[in-house]
Subunit: 342 residues, 2 copies
DNA sequence: TTGAAAGCGCTACCAT
DNA sequence: ATGGTAGCGCTTTCAA
């Protein structure tokens, strides 16, 4: 293991000078700095991150803790974060929180907050107060925070607007009987859940349905977990039940593809019999048959905004903490075959 | 920040005793250990990983460095690794190597090897010799290593066997004109490339084609990058060229779905006109229309074998290194609609 | 069975 | 402009 002392010796300067030179401190003379850099390169020196971290409390690593790594949307999001962080000259480590026997709490406390200068976290069931001490005082930006009185910065997906636009689009292509696949209608009764992703998308639907003059009925909302298999079964049940519908807004793309697949199983054609819109804009929607119309979240924008918030927080004066800020990611309705009629 | 000294003071013992007690060292008396654990819990103490790592060189974290996080196969694989590692009581950090301006080398050297006790790495263009020093001497298991004279342990996807079975399956459902979408036929000339994933799958195809009595012709192999968009365009070109074919084996599921999508664009029906088999077994293949027949790699098995190799290496006696071992992951042909005829 | 103390590699303060 | 050095929090050797 080659240490900073080896480099210092090779360059004929002190350890302190080596440290400064390697980090580009301006007070080191250009000639000296060059000598040091050469020695470091020759010896293949890399600073020991643990030591640096222990000493200075910073190591240039940003953590992204995400629920599931094997679903399209979160993994595309992690990749976007990773790119954006690299653009700022930092490194990313990604953690999957779902599978740990100790859960997301342990991961945050034991790993993410320790190995990183800051983190992006998608909160599941941990409250703000708990997050505060799990974060070890390090900056954290949440994704789709449901808190009514936010403590952390957060970047949200454009739930209300996106859902509303999806409904208007369906109405626009002539749908008269719209169903919404995903949300539990009863969740509107719960103040906390109403603030979450599902609640906000549901709210967007309801307001848009009213806008386009459709009567909002509980049986328009078909509850399902957000995976393709469940959505597919819901489609089977819905068709078998005899309920008529000519448009479906699905709360995620994965749900939409499962639902379309289920309709195909029953011989219902998309878009001719039923027009379908998803939400997320995952890559696979483009090669699906039929290709999927979707509310496509601008992940580059989401990542940029999240990292902006995080960097701002990392630079803040500890004595004068900034109030928590909340921003919404951009999005775009991408029209494809699943709603293309006539 | 609560340190081990705070816990020691609270428990009324020394720092050393606290350290031993917290890690369950048997030489500490049960009563003392209990006292210490209580104090630690009361203070919400968590050991500082950087300090632990700096001092002992171990921290219970395993790194997974993967090329792209936003494609189905690598992200499902990372998730499987993450689960398997959790099962052994360790933590996982995942890194995407593709987007760093410094590249996979820098990531390995600067992050993965530093923050982890061991790593799983999917090598791109880095040679064994270079990997050796980038690994900081820490154990590393490669995924689909192409080396002719391996230096590291490696777990491989069942390329030859899987590809061969795919071809036999196509022949079995009556295909007489098979095309293979993905590989560059000329790559057989290159000894290194021949050892890679593409080369081995290609080799499997060729041997199976001969087995089933088909003449192997270069124009059966359609070169494409492994993404849905390119595969889709290849389908367009192939249909337009007038070449006849009634079966296609695609080197990955993503390629297969793009190719099927391209066939659909041209009005060719799957499986009636063309039967299609993919490779990987990604989740989305099940809800694709038509659902995708595929050589499904057993990711749980792959992860288990990889972590077994890594753990073995982490326990080895440094004086007597074990020779590199190479194992192959299990797989299964999953028959679905894309090859279901009659 | 427990405690004292050295030191992992680095950064940052202070001195020169 | 450069160097000496304390010390981040922990583990581990050695002594008691």
């Amino acid at each position: 293991m080659v240490t900073i002392d080896d480099v210092a010796k090779a360059a004929g300067v002190s350890r302190a000078t080596t440290s400064y030179a390697l980090r580009g401190d301006p007070r080191i003379a250009p000639g000296t700095a060059d000598k040091v850099r050469h020695a470091a390169a020759r010896l293949h020196y890399t600073a020991n991150l643990s030591a640096r971290s222990l000493r200075s409390g910073r190591n240039g690593v940003i953590g992204v803790a995400i629920y599931e790594l094997d679903r399209a949307y979160p993994s595309e999001m992690s990749a976007a974060m990773s790119r954006e962080i690299a653009r700022r000259g930092c490194q990313t480590i990604v953690q999957q929180t779902a599978n740990s026997k100790e859960g997301e709490i342990a991961i945050l406390q034991k790993i993410t907050s320790q190995l990183c200068d800051g983190m992006i976290f998608s909160p599941g069931n941990v409250g703000d107060a708990e997050l505060k001490y799990l974060s070890h005082g390090k900056p954290m930006v949440l994704l789709d925070d449901s808190s009514t009185a936010p403590v952390f910065d957060s970047v949200d997906t454009p739930c209300e607007e996106g859902a509303a636009q999806a409904i208007r689009h369906l109405a626009g292509v002539g749908c008269r009987d719209i169903v919404v696949i995903g949300p539990d209608y009863r969740l509107l009764d719960d103040e906390f859940a109403r603030n979450g992703v599902e609640g906000r998308r549901l709210a967007g639907c309801i307001s848009a349905l009213e806008d386009v003059g459709m009567r909002v009925m509980p049986d328009m909302f078909v509850h399902t977990t957000w995976d393709a298999g469940s959505a597919r079964r819901r489609a089977h049940e819905l068709v078998r039940s005899g309920r008529r519908f000519d448009g479906a807004f699905c709360l995620t793309d994965t749900v939409a593809m499962g639902f379309i697949r289920g309709l195909a199983d029953c011989g219902a054609r998309v878009p001719d019999d039923v027009a379908v819109v998803g939400f997320d804009g995952v890559a696979e929607g483009a090669s699906f048959v039929p290709s999927l119309t979707t509310i496509s979240v601008d992940l580059e924008d989401l990542a940029r905004k999240a990292i902006d918030l995080l960097m701002r927080r990392m630079c803040e004066d500890a004595g004068h903490p900034l109030p928590p800020r909340r921003v919404v990611a951009g999005y775009q309705l991408v029209e494809r075959e699943s709603t293309k009629r006539g």
